[in-house]
Symmetry: C2
Subunit: 213 residues, 2 copies
C-alpha cells in the first residue's frame, strides 16, 4: 500500500526520505560543481521539491553542506576504508586491495570529479572553519584506520619494525588523493591506475624483504 520504494512519494509525507533525497542530490551537485558552485535551485528541480521543503530541513546552504559531510561523505569513507580495514584479519593486504580496486568502483565519476572528500577539503577548508573541522574529522577517521592497518603489518612481521605508522599513513592518504587529483587534469583512468600502482610499490618498499639496512 505504501510506496517506500519510490524515491519521492508525492502524495504521502516522508520527512526521512525527503531529507535524504535533498542530501543525496546536494552531494552530487557539490561533487560536480563544488560547494560554492552548487545551486539550491538545481536541488529543487532535481528532487521536485520547493524552497519551503529545503529550508524546513536545513537552516541554510552552509548547514546543508555540513550535513552532506557528516551524513554522506563520512559514511562513504567509513564504508570504503574504515570498515574493511577493521573487519580484515590481514589489514595490510586489505589496504593494498582497497587501493588497487579503488578505480573499479565508479571509474567515470572518479576520473571526472575526483574524490568528494578531497574536493571539499581543497575548496572549503580555507574559507569556512565549520567545513574545515568537519572535514578534518573525517580525515582523522581515515588516518586512524590506515595507521592501524600499518601497525598490524608491523606486528605481523610484514612491515619493518622501524616504520613510523603515523607518518606513513598520512603519506599514503596524501598519495591516494594526489593520484586521484592527478588523473583529473588528464581525465585518464589509465593514469590513475598506474599512479595508484606506485603506491603499492611504495608499500612494498616497506616490507621486510625489500630492506637490507
Amino acid at each position: 500500500m505504501n510506496n517506500t520504494q519510490s524515491k519521492l512519494p508525492r502524495t504521502e509525507r516522508n520527512p526521512e526520505l525527503t531529507r535524504q533525497a535533498i542530501l543525496d542530490t546536494a552531494f552530487m551537485e557539490i561533487f560536480r560543481n563544488g560547494f560554492q558552485g552548487m545551486r539550491l535551485e538545481n536541488i529543487l528541480t532535481e528532487t521536485g521539491l520547493t524552497k519551503g521543503a529545503l529550508y524546513h530541513h536545513f537552516k541554510n546552504k552552509q548547514t546543508l553542506g555540513y550535513a552532506v559531510i557528516e551524513d554522506i561523505i563520512q559514511p562513504m569513507i567509513e564504508s570504503i576504508w574504515v570498515k574493511p580495514l577493521e573487519a580484515s584479519n590481514n589489514p595490510l593486504d586489505t589496504l593494498q586491495t582497497v587501493i588497487k580496486t579503488l578505480p573499479d568502483m565508479k571509474p567515470d565519476e572518479l576520473i571526472q570529479f575526483g574524490c568528494p572528500l578531497n574536493n571539499l577539503v581543497q575548496e572549503m577548508s580555507p574559507l569556512d572553519e565549520g567545513f574545515r573541522k568537519r572535514l578534518d574529522a573525517v580525515m582523522s577517521l581515515w588516518h586512524e584506520s590506515t595507521k592501524a592497518a600499518l601497525q598490524a603489518g608491523v606486528q605481523s612481521g610484514q612491515i619493518r619494525q622501524d616504520t613510523n605508522c603515523e607518518e606513513t599513513a598520512m603519506f599514503i592518504m596524501a598519495a591516494v588523493e594526489g593520484c586521484i587529483g592527478l588523473a583529473k587534469s588528464s581525465q585518464s583512468l589509465e593514469r590513475l591506475r598506474t599512479c595508484l600502482k606506485s603506491i603499492s610499490g611504495y608499500l612494498a618498499s616497506l616490507t621486510i624483504d625489500a630492506s637490507n639496512r
Copy 2:
C-alpha cells in the same frame, strides 16, 4: 620621472602595468577563493581600477582565468621546478632539495590555500575544457622536468636501472600535491614537512643501495 616603482600610477597610462596588476590580483583572489569564488568587484577595489579597465584587457572572467594560468601559474611552476632542474648538474639532488625546501617559500599561504595549480585543477578541470587543457599543459611541463631529473638519476647510477621514470615522476607529482592538500585540512606546517619527508624516503627507496633484488 616615471614611477615604475608604484604599483598603479594613476595619472600616467601604463597598459602593461595595468594588465599585470589585474593578473596579480586575480591570481591571489583565485588562490584564496577559487575561480568560481573570485569576484571581479574585489579585483577592481584592490587595484583601484574600474570595469572599463578590466574588460578592456580581458574579454570576460573566463579568459582572465585562462590568462592567470598562462601568465602567472605556468611561470611559477617553471621557476620552482623546471628551471632549477634544467640548470642543475645533479637533477636528482635538486629534485630532493626543491621538495624539501618547498615549505620554506611561503609557508602561511601554502598551508592555508595549498597549491594554486592543484586548486584550479581540482575545481575547474571537470567544469571547463579550456581550463583543463591549459592546466594539463602546465602539469605536462612539470612532469617532463621531473621525469628528466629521474632519468638523469638513472644515468648517473644513483637510481635503479629498472625505474620507470615516466610513472615515478607522476607519482612524485601526485605525492607532492597530496601532501600540500593534506596539510590544508589540518592547517599544519609540521604535517606538511613530515609528509614531504616521506617523499624523500620514497626517492631513497629508488636508489641502488636500497634495493637488493
